[in-house]
Symmetry: C2
Subunit: 419 residues, 2 copies
């Protein structure tokens, strides 16, 4: 476009933006929060026990005990993580709590005794594939762990760089991963990436851990979505079972705030971890575990349930992707991926515009995840990545938000071109 054309386009966009501002929008695409229809898919949970509070082995789930969960809950949720049902611990309603507790345990108490506590060293570092999940980064920052960003591509973190850094720096004690439908890019780690993650335990020290947050393990939107290789099988092959902690939950399967979280690692790690947990709790809520087993029943039951979620999510993702394609496709004003599952669309503006786009949107009542949130310390060096989370609003609001969003992207891009 010529300067005159740019100016004229800019004015047209500005008047569209003014018109939107006058509509007093109140839209919110900030968090990966299931929609109301999605959580309602599990409304049968309350009352599903029909007065029978007895687990398969006779345990009264109402009473104390059971630090690691009911056997039937272990059997069910080990299918999600692809691990044996004797290598799983069931938690409360939050996998974030399990992750925090693992990192805190490794830091302060030591995975393999007091000598192994990361906190014995002055420096503790984590690799953080970017863009990534802000709550992972927040755990590190809160606990004083230095974060080193590592780029990702469509196969996951760039493993050459990961291996190089882990080999070179013994202060690196872990790496955060969201292997399937990664938050936010939606990529599914390739088989090669996963085998190389499993092999890190042989490159790094004995106290290095892969924090493998499989939050979207069964959260397929398109039936053709790629499967995820089995990390534990690679660990068995390479003898590194103790270098990995896997996490999952039903937060985006049943009730976001009242689901069941779970984790898996080697028997030795879990034994040490359960002892630590025992100082904090007499055990998680077994009644809710039993409710979940009754509702979901089996791996096939989970898959059928997730298909109902997919039906609700598909049009929302399609609305955003179609709007991005029709309004920004081929313009060079943005790049994005079409995720096959998960909760996010990761959008990259031209360098230097993410904060401006988020601000423009906020000023007309459209809340987006803060720019930079997908990077450690909130620092996106390119100021380019914006995470879109279309699950919660109504389809109508998702459409309206997508339209407002592309308008803000265009406005910022053309303003930049005019500078």
């Amino acid at each position: 476009m010529s300067a005159a054309e740019l100016n004229s386009e800019f004015e047209a966009l500005q008047s569209q933006y003014q018109a939107l501002a006058e509509r007093n929008l109140a839209l919110d695409l900030t968090r990966g929060k299931p929609g109301t229809e999605q959580v309602a898919l599990s409304d049968a949970l309350d009352g599903i026990l029909e007065g029978d509070y007895t687990a398969a082995n006779g345990t009264d789930v109402r009473n104390y005990g059971g630090i690691d969960g009911l056997a039937e809950a272990k059997a069910l949720f080990s299918t999600v993580l692809g691990t044996p049902d004797n290598e799983i611990v069931i938690g409360g309603n939050s996998s974030l709590t399990l992750m925090y507790t693992v990192v805190d345990f490794a830091l302060s108490v030591g995975l393999r005794g007091p000598e192994s506590a990361w906190g014995n060293s002055d420096e503790v570092k984590f690799l953080c594939p970017v863009p990534g999940y802000d709550r992972h980064f927040a755990i590190c920052e809160h606990l004083g762990i230095e974060m080193i960003p590592v780029p990702m591509d469509e196969n996951g973190p760039l493993m050459d760089e990961v291996e190089k850094r882990v080999s070179a720096d013994p202060a690196i004690k872990g790496i955060w991963c969201v292997p399937r439908f990664s938050n936010p890019t939606g990529c599914v780690y390739s088989d090669d990436t996963i085998e190389r993650l499993a092999k890190l335990g042989n490159i790094a020290g004995d106290d290095f851990i892969v924090m493998y947050d499989n939050a979207y393990a069964v959260h397929t939107i398109n039936a053709a979505a790629p499967a995820l290789a089995n990390l534990r099988e690679y660990c068995v092959k390479h003898g590194t079972e103790s270098s990995v902690f896997q996490f999952g939950s039903t937060s985006k399967v049943t009730f976001a705030g009242a689901g069941v979280a779970f984790m898996s690692s080697s028997a030795a790690n879990l034994s040490a971890f359960k002892e630590h947990l025992g100082f904090q709790s007499i055990g998680p809520d077994k009644v809710n575990q039993l409710r979940h087993v009754k509702l979901l029943q089996s791996a096939a039951g989970i898959a059928a349930h997730m298909e109902k979620h997919a039906e609700l999510l598909r049009p929302r993702f399609a609305a955003v992707l179609a709007t991005l394609e029709s309004e920004l496709g081929g313009t060079g004003m943005g790049e994005w991926l079409s995720p096959e599952g998960g909760y996010f669309i990761s959008f990259n503006t031209r360098p230097g515009l993410a904060r401006e786009v988020v601000k423009l949107a906020a000023d007309i009542g459209v809340a987006l995840t803060p720019a930079g949130a997908t990077y450690p310390y909130g620092n996106d060096p390119e100021d380019s990545n914006i995470r879109l989370a279309p699950s919660y609003p109504s389809l109508e609001d998702v459409q309206a938000t997508a339209e407002a969003f592309v308008l803000c992207v265009k406005l910022a891009s053309i303003r930049q071109a005019l500078r």
Copy 2:
């Protein structure tokens, strides 16, 4: 008794003991665990929402959010702690988790910023009124906090000693309290004790806290049980609201393993604590909070519900107390108190016999709380205190256990006299 009489009594007791041994008993009085009939009092919880998952303010309790709990849960449970409903945080299913998290927060992060973290000092100490609760002591031991035992009488901890120690040693950062129906003595702290606890905040440093575990706040067995003075009112009087954290739960009101925990402190403390919690969880299970509000409804509802518990507990406590009185009363072989509420009977053998009695009982299939468990580091200097927990077994088993117990006490006592 003469030596001959002692010998003859000893032989009689030994043959009774042998007879019991042949009965292959499997009795357990170890933990303060509600009985099956007690937890069944709340069976209406599952299904009580009848499909309505909406809180009073319109919050969808199924979804994410609400780090500090539902307003109606705050209003209900603040009546248990006797605090304003804007000075309470609702947790998950375990008050132990809240307590651990508070101590860990004060130690590692700092109640009033990083400068205030106890861990900045080489020495961190807690006062532990004895006999006390083993899980409190375990938190300290796990987190490397040195424990100093302080004696108790029927009015609670000996406050002269508490004040003297707190004044003299700035490394003392806290004190554990179970103020009503104390675990295990059953005593109810006197008004004077509670006012002096409230005043500790003015004697100690800014970072000293009273860990006030009001686990049995509404757990009256006898209607004439003494009330507990309101700690917070004394704190307001003395300007020490930030020196106190109060805890409670419905573990012994509804379901032991699937209840709701809560805590109270000053607005400033709660604000800092909630920020810390936010790194670990997106919020506790609000569905279960709403269930509890529907079941219990009000302070009067809680009281009516607790009276049903009392009806189940009364005969169990009476059976133990009657057996102790009829078999050991006036013999000098033991001392105990008759609690008016709570879950325990605290029994003191003659010095040096607690371990022996617990071993004798274990050998004939009667499990008791390990001797020493009621003291920091498991070290009862008199080897005298045994905690009896009669809530869980059937009345018949409680009676059988009490009879086996007094036999073991007599056997150990007479063996000691013969040495």
